[in-house]
Subunit: 118 residues, 2 copies
């Protein structure tokens, strides 16, 4: 088997930097394809293809407007990524580096910094 298709899920769709750029632009509002072509400096067919992938995983919705097609962000498929990666947050937020965990909590009690929710 080769690598999983980019349309398999948001993880794969978003692994491509250009597609992240597209989403970043769309995050600020609906846009026609040509805007993306100009803003990203990509060839129009490439943009359309990237948009197709994003559409197939549900990351964007399209709306017809005359001869233009307005693309719009739909972040929901990103939630699984967020949820997965969030569980690793502690691993880079130091203070959870193994046994330091306990020591840190003791320090926090000293400082009266009771942050345990969320």
């Amino acid at each position: 088997m080769a690598r999983a298709a980019t349309t398999t899920d948001a993880f794969n769709a978003v692994a491509e930097p250009r597609r992240r750029q597209i989403l970043d632009v769309l995050a600020e509002g609906e846009r026609p394809v040509n805007d993306l072509v100009e803003m990203l400096g990509l060839a129009q067919p490439q943009v359309s293809k990237h948009l197709r992938v994003l559409r197939e995983v549900g990351l964007v919705d399209v709306r017809e407007d005359g001869r233009k097609r307005l693309y719009r962000l739909n972040g929901l498929p990103l939630k699984p990524i967020h949820d997965w990666v969030k569980s690793y947050e502690e691993s880079w937020n130091e203070r959870f580096d193994g046994l330091d965990d306990v020591l840190d909590e003791l320090n926090m009690e000293e400082n009266g910094d009771g942050d345990d929710g969320e």
Copy 2:
């Protein structure tokens, strides 16, 4: 050009489900390769190759222990993913769905739920 190498960054490395599984196991503690082989039901060479990719993007560290090699999670390279995806959090947390934004804030004033800090 073909797709970016899986070793390009964490985004690509983590697009492969097996590698996410490996990280999920390692999140609970250091493990030798064979543990992963058994727990994931994969062939040993495959596990070693996935570990190589994870090593190349810095997601795991290795430690020699006799004839075993203990792999350990290093979540730091996941932070860019977290940071990127987090900025889209509002897009699936409803109440930010375009113009509903404003209406929601009006409703919140009614309920006296003044949450503007974050």
